[in-house]
Symmetry: none
Subunit: 207 residues, 4 copies
DNA sequence: GATGAATGAGAGTTCATTCAT
DNA sequence: AATGAATGAACTCTCATTCAT
């Protein structure tokens, strides 16, 4: 009810103007309520922004997760996840990525953002590990997850600014992710270490 | 001269405290000059930050570019570029990456940031293109560069917090990058399109 | 009834936090009623505080007066009054003295405070006057009452912080008061005027 | 220079309106400077008020102390001190007592006021002790000082509101103080303890 | 050439007070 | 009879920016 109205307005204004450039007056005006209501419900500007962040993050995760079919083959799961990820961002340009970027660059939310990112990285890391039949103990799946999530964020940013096409971006990311799961080519592993393991597909064949 | 002293101070403080949390007083104090001098040279806080951004970006690009030897094999070139990239960030924690993150969150620097990002992406994109013998016209090297730079930034952040070793991180990134250039495996390309091209190595024989 | 409950809560909170630091919300919460009720009964914060002031002042005066036995000797009357005064304050720390101190600092309650002070001073003044057989017309009993009440307040404050024992403090005050009523010693009165009068004790023989 | 101008304005407005009812805007306007100057010099409203308090207290003490001639007899010293005390308050109605009363009733300055009062009480206590030739060890000079200072404050308040004549008030206080130094009358001491001691005058004779 | 001194404008936050029910 | 919900108005404090020297 009233809370949604307030969060909607806050997300809207924060997204357009940025955290610091946004005044509580502006949010109250947009929400067509008085400033004290904002403080009654959210306590402070920082907490209000945090609430925006939480809501948008939840929506985002929920949407992406709902698109994942755990009965699919690993590769299809991956493809659908990436597509859902980028599509959501493309569809909601004015919300998630913008808030996320705001948060990223403010000392006050550094912790929240870092924590959120770690959760995603852990998730991706587990995905990688579980997708590999004989994981090489020396493979740093976590660092690989860091790289992949970083690539995803960068591409998502492009998508959110309208500078990239969702489908092409998805295709590129999927390729990158998938290959990341395969062991290094023979001649390369000879130079720099053993393969990271072999990938198990739904069919159980290696590709 | 005086300008460097001011920029040094500004970069230092901006990096530590963020754009909005930094006051001109603090910068003037750090630079050991008076506030009017800052305004004389840079006109406004925004312009000062822009100048910081420009200088650090240029330093960064210059340093990385200087480490690239265009006579090397594509793979060595890539390896050296990645190493230079990560090493620079590891050595200069209070510079480009941090400012870049700050800038990302303010509408006012959208232009500058986009421009800076483009310069890096162009550089990486050219590197990728130049490493591919028969570039597929449909390959979006720029988007690939975006992804790779994103991955690089994420890993670099890890490196800069001391959570990762530069050499190992570089190796991981290089593997990821390299495979990305080798075209998708057969069954995949059959499903989703042709390989992105074939890579030319110095020996011309690998993969 | 309901009004007492509200006043009790208000006195309690005002005493602890002071007038300005106390919010109507806090009082309503303490009284376990809603804020509009407070306004229904008392109109405004100022009036509510005034009502507290009035009630506590009346209770205080009533209690002290009830302890005075006008059939006793002047000295016993005085002793009992002082004892009642200090005991009341010691027993009811969160009441009149505290509110009185609060009220002193706001222009808005100047009138109420002055009035309350006058009532106490009148009482004490009458006590003093009634204890003097041949009151010197030049003796300013009211001013003496002012001084005595001031001394009493100061000592009472000490008592209420636990830094003094009620009985000893009473003894000390009584001595001071009593001597004040006995007129200046000869050489002094010669210099600065006649004694303030002579005291009539129950026995009529002392001094 | 500027600081005096600011303090003057602040004392003026604080005295008239009270601490809480006074806004920094009002003080800045009265001082004909801008609000940030107030904050530059005094940091906060609380500190500004503290500075007013300090300055007025110092002026007050200095004035009173300058009027005391330590070569006089104890009684003359006392008389002059009391006169200086009340005269100063009478002459500076809009400053010292008003600020002092404000401070007394604000949680934030309770400590400062208490401390100041303790210093005065200590001083008076030492005065009493030193004025007594054979001090009775059971005499609570400190509590007596508390009472006397309380009486002084009360009378001073009357003076500061114009409700009392300085000379008469001084005479009354002096009598009270002076008698406080003399032992209790025989019949009384028999009941409640020995005299507090005997007073030593400049001439060495008892009065 | 350089700055100490000064400020206009605005932000976040709180609270006494009142409708609409 | 009683209140949950709402707000207008004000306050403290900060900061980018500029004179006057």
């Amino acid at each position: 009810m009233r809370e949604q109205q307030m969060l909607d307005a806050a997300v809207q204004i924060f997204s357009v103007n940025g955290y610091h450039e946004t005044s509580m007056d502006a949010i109250a005006a947009e929400a067509k309520i008085s400033k004290p209501m904002l403080y009654l419900y959210y306590g402070s500007k920082e907490e209000l922004f945090g609430a925006c962040l939480d809501r948008e993050l939840s929506r985002f995760i929920e949407e992406v997760r709902s698109q994942i079919d755990f009965t699919q083959s690993p590769k299809d799961m991956l493809r659908n996840a990436v597509l859902a990820f980028l599509t959501y961002i493309d569809t909601n340009r004015a919300s998630w990525m913008v808030l996320y970027n705001q948060a990223t660059s403010s000392q006050a939310f550094a912790h929240t953002v870092r924590e959120g990112r770690e959760r995603i990285i852990d998730l991706v890391g587990r995905l990688l590990r579980s997708g590999t039949r004989h994981p090489d103990p020396e493979t740093d799946f976590d660092m690989m997850a860091v790289a992949l999530v970083g690539a995803g964020e960068a591409v998502a940013n492009r998508v959110s600014t309208g500078d990239a096409d969702v489908d092409e971006a998805a295709e590129l990311l999927i390729n990158l992710f998938w290959r990341g799961l395969k062991g290094a080519p023979a001649e390369h592993s000879a130079e720099h270490g053993p393969p990271a393991g072999t990938v198990e597909t739904a069919a159980g064949s290696q590709n």
